[in-house]
Assembly symmetry: C2
Homo-oligomer: 483 residues x 2
């Protein structure tokens, strides 16, 4: 599970873009007669929807700032008395500078072209921070169509207080999906819909705390969020090291924990796929201590070169709590996820879900059920898989070209890789600082735990690529190398 | 806050209606040639959307069970060999009997016309249980249109991990709305979007527990849910009695609690409006004990004959946590609500919200912001207000006609009244049992606490009317009286 380390910064409305354009025209930075890019091009540059740009253009045309004609496009009108007539920044740069996409958000990386940065502030051009998919791949048209279908069919009663376990049709659709795609053993009665993997962890934290547990194991290196979430339920997270096959069994046994979170399909962040032997050892451990493995299948849907590795849960559904979400496949903003819960924990999990929020919103659940049942979810996964494979290839190619000698691992699946940059590029701190000065944000493996091996002076980086275009990826690596 | 006492029962899909119709044709209960009601009429009868009925008709026409032609409507075809040709129940009855709306749900009352009930099972005809609005008033078309607008405009970045405080544009829209409609002092920075009032209580429970509180006051009589929600956060609920002006100050002071939940606009369930003097006394108490009043403004938007009573929060925003939701104005299934939080509690509330679910779904928030900003929310409140006033009038009229001598209170606002039925109709238990046998579900005031006064043998009932049509209301009261 990859979660933002802090709140996403405030987002602004289409109005911000309008205001930025209006101000640019008023101040003369956009001179009369300046031709604006097409709405499609500007939307792509700003990473916003085309409708937002079209609205802004329409509004400002109505207000007299802009003029447009069919075929001739849109240009700056002469109704406004401009104090100057310099070429000024492009509208794209205006939009960005006034906040169309805040640069350097903790969670979401991306490429930013910033005009006139504040003095001293580094210009973020490429942000390799992992954790967010490419939000432009969200299937807006399909989602809107499913919403329309659902709203036209939904019985009135379905708008009442929800079932805290989740909408029955969604639970049935998810059970079938997870069985088919991930080898999960999932009867609908054991599926609990929740607000993503983060809530699954919090729910389980409370349930395990209620059963007397005071600690829970987490992978080290791993997602720092796990510890925060369990702490909110009164559990202390105990970091447990990995070896080449996954979570190391010796320290796990010695730790005395009776529940551990693990990412067996593609360990975050190391990228290790838990070996078959290790899977057996972990399940043996869980049976011995009468404990639970909590499987965070955060990117199990994305695999490129090898056959899919089924979920750990399929091997022993009584000892594994399976968790997943649409945050990587559709959008984190939907806040929709699921758990498949062993029978003994089920009632407590549902009770806790009920007191936490009474259940997930019904309409959203019905829309997802429709999308899954009608095959749209599989299509979306194929689409993302194609896009992300290309980006991974672009990253591996760029690293080989611009940072030769870099060892790359964890590339068979997921949305990020580990890249070990040769020590000759300098010690970690200096390397990261130079990259930042060149406008490239990269996270070191050491930022994800205490146990990150340094491999004889190499600098191990966690590079998320799913949210970046192939050309941005190449640009980012080139700048990192040139720094 | 009115919440269901248990999970809503599973809902079924349009397929259920199709199966019921198919089975009715196969069994001959719907004979060949039988003309079916229009999709509009059947949808209204079943309380489902018209699209669901149209889909069922289309599907069965495609399958040969039904035939239709433009202008001539839909009728039962002769492709199926019918074992008999009796008139049988109407399709409406078939649909209901197979579960088109589960009867007697804990939260949602309503009218059910049931054909061939199971032997011994009472036939629920009218359910006066309060807590759910009329779900057929949900503005489906407006909501779908706003959803379309929002999806066409939303920047990609808005689909990423949400701001745990809520979408900035929704917080701004809510601050303006609550200030204008409810006299709340609400800067957007102090608004926290949450999954309804239930989650607000749980969030506050954890925050107060974290500050060392071990108890929280709740009104008695009051919503039994409050106690459950606070218990989930480790707080014990202390029931506090009312007098004619609201929460009684003496027992409050004596209880030693430092936080109390109250429903000042229209106490649930008594209907008492907290007097101006009592408001001052409660705020004085909060200042003296350095405590908080938690205002559950669950039906403050619905008032009929008198001028609106502003929120308690407006009198001292530093001592009152204001909570509300769309559960009564739009639909509980949306799981969207809000809190206005005093500055000292704000950061802890947001931190807790973040670990609980990272924040509410972004799209839903953007849709509500659009609906509020464009005036649709005010229109919806006016529409509900008109409908609910008519229903309240129908209830008061029916009580006067069929149960003369009944004293009705709490009628100036909200979605329910208190009706004190004269003792000559028998003791409470017998009265309720007879009503149930006559197919009328009513909740006694005594079901909402330990302190319900019996008023010299009268039977005090809590009658929710918002979800019932005026004719259902009259039917229910007549049956109750005749029982």
């Amino acid at each position: 599970m990859l979660l933002p380390a802090a709140a996403a910064p405030p987002r602004r409305r289409g109005r911000t873009l309008q205001e930025a354009l209006r101000e640019a025209v008023r101040s003369g930075r956009l001179a009369a007669g300046t031709r604006l890019p097409s709405s499609r091009a500007l939307a792509a540059d700003l990473g916003v929807s085309r409708g937002l740009v079209t609205d802004a253009y329409d509004q400002l045309t109505a207000e007299g700032y802009l003029r447009s004609s069919r075929g001739a496009g849109t240009w700056v009108g002469d109704a406004v008395r401009a104090p100057g007539a310099g070429a000024g920044p492009t509208p794209a740069a205006v939009g960005v500078r006034t906040g169309a996409e805040p640069a350097g958000t903790p969670a979401a990386g991306g490429t930013r072209t910033v005009a006139e940065p504040a003095p001293g502030a580094p210009v973020v051009r490429v942000d390799f921070t992992p954790g967010t998919p490419d939000l432009s791949l969200f299937p807006r048209a399909a989602w809107a169509a499913a919403h329309r279908t659902v709203l036209s069919r939904l019985p009135h009663a379905a708008l009442g207080y929800p079932d805290p376990r989740g909408l029955p049709e969604l639970r049935a659709a998810l059970a079938a999906l997870l069985t088919r795609r991930r080898g999960v053993v999932a009867a609908p009665e054991r599926v609990v819909v929740c607000s993503g993997v983060a809530q699954a962890m919090t729910l389980l934290g409370f349930v395990l705390r209620g059963r007397g547990l005071r600690t829970v194991g987490v992978e080290d290196p791993g997602s720092p969020e796990h510890g925060t979430l369990f702490a909110s339920a009164g559990l202390r997270a105990v970091g447990l090291p990995l070896d080449g096959e996954g979570l190391a069994p010796g320290p796990l046994v010695a730790s005395g924990v009776r529940a551990v979170v693990t990412t067996p399909a593609h360990q975050f962040p190391s990228g290790i796929a838990c070996s078959p032997r290790r899977r057996t050892e972990l399940l043996d451990w869980a049976r011995t201590v009468d404990g639970y493995l909590i499987e965070d299948d955060y990117d199990g849907d994305f695999r490129y070169d090898r056959a899919p590795v089924g979920a750990l849960q399929g091997l022993d559904p009584a000892r594994v709590v399976y968790t997943g979400s649409v945050s990587k496949s559709l959008a984190p903003g939907l806040r929709l996820g699921w758990m498949v819960v062993p029978e003994p924990l089920l009632e407590e999990v549902v009770d806790r879900k009920r007191t936490m929020d009474l259940g997930n919103p019904s309409l959203d659940q019905a829309v997802l059920a429709e999308v899954v049942t009608a095959g749209g979810y599989d299509r979306q996964l194929r689409r993302c898989q194609r896009a992300y494979r290309r980006r991974r290839d672009a990253l591996v190619t760029a690293l080989a070209e611009f940072l030769p000698g870099t060892r790359v691992s964890g590339i068979a699946a997921g949305l990020h890789v580990i890249a070990r940059v040769p020590g000759r590029h300098g010690p970690e701190g200096a390397f990261l600082a130079r990259a930042a000065a060149a406008g490239v944000v990269v996270r070191p493996l050491s930022g994800y735990g205490t146990a990150a091996a340094r491999d004889g002076g190499d600098v191990p980086l966690v590079l998320g690529y799913a949210h970046l275009s192939p050309s941005d990826i190449a640009l980012g690596v080139r700048r990192m190398a040139g720094a």
